[in-house]
């Protein structure tokens, strides 16, 4: 059906455009949140994986992924059809958004907003495989993963054409599609790639916690676009999502550091940042479906539960380096399921959960959605990971891992603090052979062949 451009709400359009930019900022924020937690020799490798996710997913979104996520159902309902390859037919309304769901923002604005969700979801996975994932394998992995895992799950849950949406499962901004999904994928990929050299033996302390806190702050800021933007309007529902997001995040931060104070003796800055992110994750599916008081309890529970969940990896022996499972899988699942208790239609959308007289009906729907997203993501990621490991190898060598990703994969060093470094300028790089001399000499043989020897 053609989109009625005379029905555009300029306020809503402005807010969703601004929200899209806010959500984009979350990926650099995540890069620094993660980057601060790895060792200094791997910080560029981590930043690079996150930044390149913006590049790869943005291109794929235009080419094919948007159509798979939001076009009319095809492939037996598994994903959207190929009607909007290359972002064609942007004068038509987004499939399924009719009647009370009719959008008041241009379809292209919706495309931009949803793109940012598709960007950050695979970026979240990088925390699980930190310090050891090959860059080339990573690039191929997320290209496949966005098409095979993200787009279908987004279709099921976010698109009114999707089966979980039609069942009535509630996911306001991506607790299942983004966080439980990325968490399950992180677990699968951590299992395929194996533990880091020296895990549980060598010290693997965060090298720059101020980066981590800065990243958490950027995530918190950007998340207002993620959640309040998901109202797709500048309205009361967006107000609910905004206040709920902040309230749950604040409570989760306090919940996490309370657990630390009681268990370890010290509230930590890493705990404060982690608790805030756990709260943001947990409120994501619920942002427009709970009251501010519901958000407060939901956040407090999520913060405390995730603070305890991050130690599971030591018990079960999987090296989820930066706790994608403990924070995103557990937080995403907790948030999605807690809607079953705290859900209320007082916000103007959704149905009542157990605490509001709705019985167990909503909880059942939430459990189905969580089970489908987590189950599919885990199995599909396991298969993609295994195949890629066989075909091209997922992991850098042991020596490369000990040296660090920054110099090995990117030929760069993050920090230059010392004055004793030595070395000389080696001429322009020309693919490793054929000296390019600097300083006027045209014949490589006339110089000392600096480029060739470098």
């Amino acid at each position: 059906m053609p989109f009625d451009f005379s029905k555009i709400d300029t306020g809503a359009t402005a807010w969703v455009l601004a929200s899209a930019a806010l959500v984009l900022l979350m990926t650099p924020g995540l890069a620094f949140f993660y980057g601060g937690m790895v060792r200094a020799k791997n910080v560029l490798g981590m930043l690079m994986q996150n930044y390149v996710a913006i590049g790869i997913v943005s291109v794929l979104w235009v080419l094919v992924a948007y159509s798979l996520a939001f076009s009319k159902s095809g492939f037996g309902g598994f994903a959207g059809n190929l009607h909007q390859l290359g972002l064609g037919h942007m004068n038509q309304q987004v499939a399924g958004y009719t009647g009370p769901l009719a959008q008041t923002i241009p379809p292209l604005v919706f495309v931009a907003f949803q793109l940012m969700f598709a960007v950050i979801t695979p970026a979240l996975i990088t925390g699980a495989t930190a310090d050891r994932l090959k860059f080339g394998a990573y690039v191929v992995f997320i290209a496949i993963w966005v098409i095979v895992v993200y787009a279908p799950i987004a279709h099921w849950v976010f698109s009114p054409e999707g089966w979980l949406f039609q069942k009535g499962a509630e996911d306001f901004a991506g607790g299942t599609v983004v966080h439980a999904n990325a968490g399950a994928a992180g677990l699968a990929l951590a299992l395929v790639i194996g533990r880091r050299v020296g895990w549980k033996k060598d010290p693997m302390r965060p090298h720059n916690l101020p980066f981590t806190l800065l990243g958490a702050g950027l995530l918190w800021f950007g998340w207002f676009g993620f959640n309040a933007g998901s109202a797709l309007g500048a309205n009361n529902l967006a107000g609910y999502a905004f206040v709920n997001t902040n309230t749950a995040t604040a409570a989760a931060m306090l919940g996490w550091i309370l657990v630390e104070k009681l268990r370890d003796g010290h509230p930590t800055t890493l705990g404060a940042a982690s608790g805030a992110v756990a709260g943001l994750v947990a409120i994501t599916p619920a942002a427009g479906f709970v009251s501010p008081m519901g958000a407060l309890f939901l956040g407090l529970i999520a913060g405390a539960v995730c603070a305890l969940a991050v130690s599971l990896k030591y018990r079960f022996g999987f090296d989820d380096a930066l706790d994608v499972v403990g924070v995103h899988l557990v937080g995403g699942v907790a948030g999605a399921l807690l809607i079953g208790f705290f859900g209320t239609k007082a916000t103007g959308v959704g149905i009542n959960g157990l605490f509001y007289g709705g019985g167990w009906h909503l909880m059942k729907l939430q459990a189905i959605a969580v089970g489908a997203a987590v189950g599919y993501s885990f199995v599909a990621t396991l298969v993609i990971g295994k195949v890629l490991d066989l075909v091209m190898g997922l992991r850098i060598t042991r020596d490369q891992e000990l040296e660090g990703m920054d110099t090995v994969l990117h030929a760069e060093t993050a920090y230059e603090f010392g004055t004793v470094q030595g070395g000389t300028f080696g001429g322009l790089s020309s693919g490793g052979h054929g000296a390019v001399s600097i300083g006027g000499a045209s014949a490589p043989s006339a110089t000392t062949g600096a480029g060739a020897q470098a």
Binding site: P203, R205, P206, E260, R263, D264, G265, H266, T268, L270, G271, S274, A307, V310, S311, Y314, D323, G326
Partner: protein, 112 residues
């Protein structure tokens, strides 16, 4: 001549420097080092995981003095660096065979 070397708590560096200046020592070299003695390291906790950090940040001072001053300089450093707590550090001396001031080429005690 003697080389006096001290490994002290970083926050005591200013006190030691002032005491040495008052005594008449007009130059010294400091470096940031890590190590442990009886103090051992300390424990840090990240997301509930404990890490034993063995090497504690310390400051190392190196100063060359005349033989007659060595004992006094050691005393000055020990007095200024002391907190009475574990981890205050160590001071020791080593004989120095030769000393040259790079700018002038002066040698031996003249170069001090």
């Amino acid at each position: 001549m003697k080389l006096v070397t001290a490994v002290i708590k970083p926050f005591k560096l200013d006190d030691v420097k002032t005491a040495l200046e008052t005594f008449g020592v007009h130059g010294l070299t400091v470096s940031e080092v890590s190590g442990y003695g009886r103090q051992k390291g300390h424990t840090e906790v990240y997301r509930g995981a404990e890490y034993q950090v063995d090497f504690v940040p310390k400051v190392r001072l190196d100063v060359v003095v005349a033989d007659d001053d060595a004992a006094d300089v050691v005393d000055v450093i020990v007095k200024a660096a002391s907190t009475g707590q574990i981890g205050d550090g160590k001071v020791w001396t080593t004989p120095v065979d030769e000393l040259v001031r790079v700018r002038t080429g002066e040698r031996g005690p003249d170069a001090l």
